[in-house]
């Protein structure tokens, strides 16, 4: 046991001594959580750009209506060209051009052309109906005022004032919206909550696999062989190497949990449950890391494959895109990765206020993964160490 700890300890020290590891283990994950939070911030509303040629009552009212619409994210643009180009590049999904002289046109009954551009793919037609309904709500008031003016021989502005006032209290056909079902992303979920657990899972595994390079180096330099020449069994070496990777993964995971909790108020749910997921998932990562270290001879190759494996499994396992939005087949494929099980566990804790009992299946699967990987790693390492 003391030997396992000694091997593990030297592994952790080796990792922490390398300055670039500090960046990838401690700085980069947080930067990514911050960037993703800023980019996708909780909701995925399509962006609509608007350009106003001339300020006026109608333009202001339309802007107000559009801003009040929760289904879109409104951005104001300073020029027509900027807006067109933003739509073409997909920075916003649609553009609305409010022409000059709308107030005069409405007063004199001239048809107003509100420009609308969208990309041929995506949300275009649907956004058109959203924008159209906002414009029609505003124009309705104006036409009411207009008709009233003609019929009652009062001034247009008076009629508009009255219409605006009455509109606030008038009866009418109101639309109420309600939601059905259990929310996939409840409103209480903070903007960083989802991203944080996905990034935790991604990085803990990435770091664990990157650790395989150190083991390959130990083998190349003959350190492992010399250890084997002492009265130390391969199981102890594998245990030590595994424990080292596991400790690094745990340190990184705990760091992400604590710092995101303090800085971004990320909710991790039941602390014991979260800790157990981290413990088992780190063990999976450690097993995979030692296995990689036992299989590859060249550390550059191992780190290339490691990046592919850890990013690829993370993508498949739902760390980059919510697994609930996968197709049914892809959801099954996803659950071949330990990542999906870990994420399911975190989701159970956070979204449904689960406890340790609720995540027992996930913990079981992760433990099984870890056990199988460590067994294979132990066998491979014994083979390569006694062979070279």
């Amino acid at each position: 046991m003391r030997k396992i700890l000694a091997i593990a300890g030297s592994n952790v020290r080796r990792m922490l001594r390398e300055k670039s590891n500090i960046f990838f283990v401690f700085i980069f994950p947080l930067a990514l959580i911050l960037l993703i939070g800023a980019q996708f911030g909780g909701d995925f509303d399509p962006g609509v750009g608007v350009w106003v040629a001339e300020d006026g009552v109608i333009a202001a009212s339309i802007l107000e209506e559009l801003e009040a619409d929760d289904s879109i994210e409104l951005t104001r643009f300073e020029s027509e060209d900027e807006l067109t180009s933003a739509v073409e590049r997909g920075n916003v999904q649609a553009g609305v051009f409010l022409p000059a002289g709308m107030d005069d046109a409405a007063r004199s009954g001239v048809v107003i052309d509100v420009g609308f551009i969208t990309r041929p793919d995506g949300f275009g037609p649907q956004l058109q109906s959203v924008v159209g309904s906002a414009v029609s709500r505003v124009m309705t008031l104006f036409y009411d005022a207009q008709v009233t003016t003609e019929k009652t021989e009062s001034s247009f502005d008076d009629a508009l004032d009255v219409a605006l006032q009455q509109a606030e209290s008038a009866p009418g056909l109101t639309v109420t919206t309600s939601a059905l079902g259990e929310a996939l992303f409840p409103a209480t979920l903070g903007r960083f909550d989802l991203g944080a657990s996905s990034q935790l899972v991604l990085f803990v595994f990435l770091t664990a696999l990157a650790g395989s390079a150190a083991l390959i180096l130990s083998r190349q330099l003959g350190v492992s062989r010399r250890m084997l020449s002492t009265p130390t069994s391969t199981n102890v070496i594998v245990g030590g190497e595994g424990a080292g990777r596991w400790a690094v993964a745990m340190v990184q995971g705990l760091y992400i949990i604590v710092v995101t909790f303090i800085l971004f108020r990320v909710n991790w749910g039941d602390p014991l449950g979260a800790a157990l997921i981290l413990v088992t998932f780190s063990a999976v990562g450690a097993g995979a890391g030692v296995l990689m270290g036992a299989i590859f001879k060249n550390d550059q190759q191992a780190s290339g494959i490691g990046v592919v494996l850890s990013l690829g499994l993370a993508a498949l396992g739902g760390c980059m895109f919510p697994i609930e939005l996968f197709s049914p087949t892809m959801q099954q494929v996803a659950h071949l990765t330990p990542h999906a099980w870990a994420l399911d566990g975190f989701a159970e804790l956070v979204r449904r206020d689960g406890t340790v009992l609720d995540i027992l299946p996930e913990l079981g699967v992760l433990t099984a993964y870890a056990a199988v990987l460590l067994l294979i790693a132990s066998w491979r390492l014994r083979v390569v160490l006694t062979r070279d």
């Binding site: 980019q39 509100v114 009233t148 056909l173």
Partner: protein, 392 residues
């Protein structure tokens, strides 16, 4: 120049024999682009297909009018509409993911509207289909605005003339509502200057790993320094320019080879659409030059090959992430998107976007010029520093 080419070709043979350049330069980006495409492919390219339901418990004139409007929009292909007899049936359809939301017209709706009372049109949506639900709500509100307008015109007239509204005031309301057509949304469909999902991932991964691939060249200089072969090279009748040039040439060759293979492979295997070859080639050449320049600078300031590898990895990952190779960064004109353009990656992706949608190859020139600025600024600095390093 001959010496530079010989150094480059010797190193190229070494790198081909050692498979790591192949893994980083071709296998990794190809595998990841493939996985990302499978996982996100559906999400990226999916046109939103809206399916709504209608439950009409009212059956009156107003409900009839609403039904007609929905049918009309349906025939424009905006959504598909299914009719249900009861809210329970429609709710079951939501649970079964058959519809995203349904409109509910309660009994007595038409009577309430005609008598000038408050009436309510409900939209019930799947909690996980919020955008679809809000679009349904917008459609309902548009209809509601027309109905309210009729009522409002009556009240406005009433308030203005301080007396009971003339009999015909209800007709005014309808007239006003009819004028709702005197504005129009002029649809000017924009061109697409954005990559489709498959090409986005292919290009993103290619340019991301490019910055790792070119390291095999310039960092080789530090390896020669560590292994002591550099001193021998310097002692030979070879100019320092040839030595640095040879390493840079290898970086450039590895970059161009891997990018070209990736373009062809993703086009054939995944159906990526990179655009006109001349424009793509221009972006690849400038992109590789900028990568060589930046990694050359990294090599010139690092002390050991490992140090250069680590610093290079940090810079490549940071620039790639910020440049939007994994997911688009920034929206519209905000701070993040401005920050993003401080990376050659963002310009590379933008250049490819400009090429898409049937543009001429010349559409890539502005982005290529921007990438060349990075290549020149960092390249010249790296060149000076690396040669000074050899002189020590």
């Amino acid at each position: 120049m001959g010496a530079a080419a010989r150094i480059a070709s010797k190193d190229l043979k070494l790198r081909i024999r050692d498979r790591s350049a192949f893994i980083i330069g071709i296998f990794a980006p190809l595998a990841l682009a493939f996985i990302f495409n499978v996982v996100f492919g559906g999400a990226f390219s999916a046109d939103l297909e809206l399916e709504y339901g209608l439950v009409d418990l009212d059956g009156g004139d107003v409900a009839q009018a609403f039904d007609e409007i929905l049918t009309e929009i349906e025939s424009d292909g905006l959504f598909t509409l299914s009719r249900f007899d009861s809210p329970a049936e429609a709710e079951a359809a939501i649970e079964a993911d058959e519809i995203a939301a349904f409109f509910l017209l309660e009994e007595g709706l038409s009577d309430a509207v005609i008598e000038g009372e408050n009436a309510d049109l409900s939209v019930v949506g799947d909690i996980d289909a919020q955008t679809s639900t809000q679009i349904a709500a917008s459609i309902a509100e548009q209809f509601g605005a027309g109905v309210s307008s009729t009522q409002l015109a009556v009240i406005t007239a009433f308030a203005l003339i301080d007396g009971p509204p003339p009999e015909e005031s209800a007709a005014w309301g309808q007239e006003a509502a009819a004028r709702g057509a005197s504005y129009s949304l002029v649809d000017v469909s924009a061109e697409t200057r954005q990559l489709d999902g498959t090409t986005y991932f292919a290009a993103g991964m290619a340019v991301f790993f490019l910055f790792f691939t070119v390291q095999f060249g310039v960092v080789g200089l530090l390896e020669e320094e560590r292994d002591g072969t550099l001193a021998r090279l310097l002692a030979a009748p070879i100019s320092r320019t040839s030595i640095v040039g040879g390493k840079a040439l290898l970086s450039f060759a590895l970059g161009v080879i891997s990018m070209t293979v990736l373009v062809v492979a993703t086009q054939l295997l995944m159906g990526a659409d990179w655009g006109p070859p001349a424009g793509v080639f221009l972006l690849i050449v400038t992109g590789v030059l900028s990568a060589v320049a930046i990694m050359g600078l990294v090599a010139s300031v690092a002390r050991t090959p490992d140090g250069a590898g680590n610093l290079g990895a940090i810079i490549a990952v940071t620039l790639g992430l910020l440049g939007g190779v994994f997911f688009p960064v920034g929206q519209g004109d905000d701070f993040l998107s401005k920050l993003s353009y401080l990376t050659p990656h963002a310009w590379f992706m933008r250049g490819l976007g400009d090429l898409s949608g049937g543009a001429e190859w010349t559409a890539a020139i502005p982005a290529a010029a921007a990438i060349m600025v990075f290549a020149l600024v960092f390249g010249v600095t790296a060149w000076v520093l690396l040669k000074r390093r050899l002189n020590r």
